[in-house]
């Protein structure tokens, strides 16, 4: 009999009551007595020397407590950390407040602390900074060209690293053997992550206890604590980091920012709580950006559409400094260049380049959307060139289910998959054949209708520690309290994904207790054992597995106590829902609560068993997981305005086993819409002087309700072999799978007009220009 009541069910989230009633606490909702407010003065120049900062007028204002410049705190706070390691990587000094030079618009130059936000802002406006503008370079190709201004003079030039790889069969031979070689430049534009809650930090220091508490809107409270302690020079165990309610991250809060250290430092110096909350414009200037890659692709293909080899040169726009994982993102693109296909020979070269712009770093998908975009555009280009159906090209190159674990030329072992099944299912839902017929008819009438397919595989559940800069495991504690209530501590620190519910579902089923008896705690380093965080679609696959393993340990102990109370052997305990019986004498029953109480009262202990009822497990995954799927977009283009309307959108995703299908659907929807944003409207724009032209929501378009199609979702379910529950992860599937589906659909719609490729974002004007024939792509 399956006793599971919760796992697999679409259960509304337990965290939502506080969220729908406005009673939860985000960082800006935290108010402490005597709290001061920090406002930053940021560089208006993309590249300049700081000649002088005049602070006196600001300092003299009533209510102003402190004004800090980079010079004044030189050496007091360590450089903003970069955790990525790579041979030959150049790592520039990255001060929390600029010293002598600024290198991007928005770089913090001074901090003003005052009794309230309004006063701090007034004082910040009084600060006079004298800059001497320097030559700016924001274009990556220009940045690596001879004569370009050097952003970090001490590093010689703007190349932060070069990474070369060749794997599988010989690449050169593959291209010699090819019937057809296709070349294309594919650009993944810079994006603003735009989490709805901007970043924010509150810090409080108790000098007597030498205790620093930092509330930050972060995805990684523990990693932040370690780094903060080092940056401000405190013992790590004196620092407590709390990630309260976090209003979205998408990777932008998977970082350690200068403001976090500044606020912590100030709270300690001033011995008063200090708060800083980012404005949206600051968020767009100086919270990490995503993507930013130019990929020059060459692919070797046989006449019948089989890919023999792939060669990609990746120019990666890193921005002015390294944030936590900046140089670590483009290598993920390289790693995933086989996509869901059998490509016998793969070579790539990645050049990481400094520019006068905000750092790029992990944004939902982080390197993998770029790889998927390369492959899925390439598949369509092959189909176009060889006059094949895009479906046929894909199917021809998929590995078969029996070939798993499938080893790619890039050195990965894909765990499990049936790529064709997902593709076929998507085609069935969308009624592909019928659509192609309709398209043929519409084309006859001169209408622009396109169908785009994207098959993807993503690398998730990050991951084995050997492959990550700071640990790939996750921790969990499951604690049964004396009353039988259950507390779960997870290091995964979710921020909108709903693990308070899904982990409770898992534990409630395992222990046979009601869902409401399980309380999931996260995001507080003083309460939760060290953990890694939520990113890379890892929280459920890695963090959930840690919970699963911990609860198995608790169950074993519960069984021991139950046997002891029942006076029978361990094997004779029959587990019911919330109760335990003697197999021999079914009349003898103890409840879960009685067991819990007995474990703590400890009047009588089973032999060799310690009191208490909790277990902690650190789960180290043996491999990544590789979710996959196929998305199909159907678009109509207004030939007069160039506007794209997505008429149908079908997503078939396989994320392995599912704990809560409602949450999975939510993740898919959200990811698709962010992908739609990249495909059609979003783009960070710096002008040649380094000014950010997309610096607020009136100039940077994010998808709104009216831009979004009704999404039809379906799943196939291929469990992973990497963890016992078979969970693969789903957080990034949408942004990875959807972007090329939409672009392919638009290019397909424009194909009769001779269009072979269009760079994102596919804005109406760009499409209109193509239709005018004035810009051939």
């Amino acid at each position: 009999m399956d006793k599971r009541k919760y796992v697999g069910e679409a259960i509304p989230r337990v965290e939502d009551r506080r969220l729908v009633t406005g009673t939860s606490h985000y960082v800006d909702d935290i108010r402490l007595p005597e709290m001061l407010h920090m406002v930053l003065v940021r560089s208006p120049y993309g590249h300049a020397r700081i000649n002088r900062i005049e602070t006196a007028a600001a300092e003299a204002m009533p209510g102003v407590v402190a004004v800090l410049t980079g010079e004044a705190i030189r050496g007091r706070i360590k450089s903003i950390p970069c955790a990525s390691e790579m041979e030959g990587l150049k790592v520039p000094e990255h001060p929390v407040l600029a010293v002598e030079r600024v290198r991007y618009v928005g770089e913090p130059v001074a901090a003003v602390v005052a009794k309230d936000r309004y006063t701090a802002q007034d004082a910040a406006d009084r600060l006079e900074v004298e800059y001497e503008p320097l030559e700016v370079v924001v274009d990556v190709e220009r940045a690596v060209a001879p004569g370009a201004p050097v952003i970090h003079e001490e590093l010689g030039d703007n190349v932060a690293f070069v990474l070369r790889f060749e794997g599988g069969e010989a690449l050169k031979a593959a291209f010699e053997r090819a019937d057809v070689v296709i070349e294309q430049r594919l650009v993944n534009q810079r994006l603003h992550p735009v989490a709805m809650e901007p970043r924010g930090v509150v810090a409080e220091y108790w000098p007597g206890e030498d205790r620093l508490t930092v509330w930050s809107s972060t995805q990684i409270p523990h990693l932040l604590r370690t780094q903060l302690a080092m940056m401000v020079g405190m013992a790590e165990h004196r620092v407590r980091v709390i990630a309260p309610e976090v209003g979205g991250g998408f990777g932008s809060k998977l970082n350690v920012y200068g403001e976090e250290a500044l606020v912590a430092y100030l709270a300690r110096e001033l011995k008063k709580p200090v708060k800083w909350v980012e404005t949206r414009r600051e968020n767009m200037m100086s919270t990490i950006h995503g993507r930013g890659q130019i990929n020059d692709v060459r692919v070797a293909v046989t006449r019948d559409g089989r890919v023999l080899g792939l060669e990609v040169r990746i120019l990666s726009d890193l921005g002015a400094y390294h944030q936590l994982l900046t140089p670590g993102i483009p290598p993920l693109t390289g790693l995933m260049l086989s996509g869901p296909y059998k490509i016998p020979a793969i070579g790539y070269e990645i050049v990481g380049v400094f520019t006068n712009a905000m750092s790029t770093d992990a944004y939902r998908g982080a390197g993998r959307p770029e790889a998927t975009y390369v492959l899925e555009r390439v598949m369509d280009l092959i189909a176009r060139q060889l006059e094949m159906d895009p479906v046929e090209v894909r199917v021809k190159n998929f590995p078969q289910p029996e070939e798993f674990p499938y080893e790619t030329a890039t050195g990965l072992a894909y765990d499990s998959g049936d790529y064709e099944a997902a593709l076929r299912k998507a085609l069935e839902v969308v009624e592909y054949e019928k659509l192609r017929q309709e398209q043929a008819e519409r084309r006859q009438r001169g209408e622009l209708m396109g169908i785009g397919i994207s098959s993807y595989v993503e690398i998730c559940a990050l991951g084995p520690s050997a492959a990550l800069p700071a640990g790939g495991w996750e921790s969990a504690t499951v604690r049964v309290e004396p009353t039988g209530k259950v507390t779960v501590l997870t290091g995964a620190s979710p921020h909108g994904q709903g693990q308070e519910t899904s982990f409770a579902q898992l534990v409630a089923d395992e222990l046979g207790v009601p869902l409401e008896d399980v309380y999931v705690v996260h995001g507080d380093t003083a309460v939760v054992p060290y953990g890694i965080g939520t990113f890379g679609s890892r929280a459920t696959a890695v963090g959930g597995t840690a919970v699963y393993e911990a609860v198995q340990m608790v169950k074993e102990k519960v069984r021991s106590f139950a046997a002891h109370l029942l006076g029978v052997d361990w094997e004779e305990v029959e587990e019911g829902v919330g109760e335990y019986r003697s197999r021999r004498d079914p009349e003898r029953v103890v409840s879960f609560q009685e067991v819990a109480q007995a474990a703590y009262l400890a009047k009588s202990l089973p032999p060799g068993v310690t009191p208490g009822l909790e277990a902690t497990y650190f789960f180290e995954p043996s491999n990544f997981t590789f979710p996959f799927g196929t998305h199909v977009a159907v678009v109509d283009i207004d030939p007069e305005t160039g506007e794209v309307k997505i008429r149908r959108y079908v997503a078939v995703d396989d994320c392995g086993r599912v704990i809560n299908p409602l949450l999975v659907e939510g993740q898919i929807h959200g990811g698709i819409v962010q992908a739609l944003g990249q495909a059609l409207m979003e783009e960070v724009v710096y002008d040649e002087w380094g000014q950010l032209l997309s610096g607020d929501l009136s100039s940077y378009a994010v998808p709104r309700a009216g831009d979004v199609p009704w999404m039809e979702t379906a799943r196939t379910e291929t469990p992973t072999t990497v963890n016992p529950m078979g969970i693969k992860g789903v957080g990034e599937a949408g942004t990875i799978g959807a972007t090329p589906a939409i672009v392919n659909a638009v290019v397909d719609a424009l194909a009769p007009r001779g269009v072979r490729h269009v760079d994102m974002p596919l804005t109406p004007e760009k499409i209109w220009r193509l239709l005018q024939g004035d810009a051939k792509a």
């Binding site: 007034d122 007069e640 305005t641 409207m681 378009a701």
Partner: protein
Amino acid sequence: MIPSAFDYYAPKTVAEAVALLQQYGEEAKVLAGGQSLLPLLKLRLATPRVVVDLGRIPDLAYIRQDGNEVAIGAMTRHETVEQSEVVRRHCRLLAATAATIGDVQVRNRGTIGGSLAHADPAGDFPAAVLAAEARLKVVGPGGERWIAAEDFFVDVMTTALDAGEILTEIRVPVDSAHTRSAYEKVRQKASGFALCGVAVRLQLDENRRCQGVAVGVTGVGAKAYRARAVEEVLRGEALTETVVVAAAEKAAQGVEPSEDAQASAAYRAHLARVCTRRALRRALAEG
């Protein structure tokens, strides 16, 4: 995010407001619905010493029919214009235009007078009042005067309002049984403003010949403008598709379209033609 400090006055009469504006001159800003002014204040792109709030003056928000005109108080909210039975019956174009402005929160708060006096080159109402051939009542130190809509918009965020003058009323000739109108807009995706907006209002005779026409275009140039060249092609003609297409071709004639990160001049000019064509078609399809 935070406005710089200012003194705040909430006069109870237009005369008081005018006196305050006279007193503080350039240092004062007029606050109507605030949907354009507040962002400027918060970004400190405007740092007035004094804000004069018209929101406490009774009787600046009204809609009534007065003979062959509809009179709309300057402080009437977009939402009220959109929903008003009087406007819907007698000047459909204004209701249709109001419905496309920003979003519901902005429409609930923003005012027609504020929108016109702000004269954003991508605002919607300027196109509509041009096409509706409205006249605007302004009150200043020298008393009141009327300005034709066409003379009101001078340049980017600049109007014919003199120092100390306040826009108090908008008057629009009522629709007849032969009036047809439409507003066609392509939104700038991020801001909701018009990348291009074209308002047309036609008077047709029994044979669907164009007896009168006014076309207002916004979003394209430095200010909203009357597309006279379009009107000339239409006037007196039977409005066949051929005529409509030919007329629309002239939508950006004589205008220097703006060029910025959101759209090139060429695309804006193109949209002016497309929106004009579509607005005309929709107006003619009205019945």
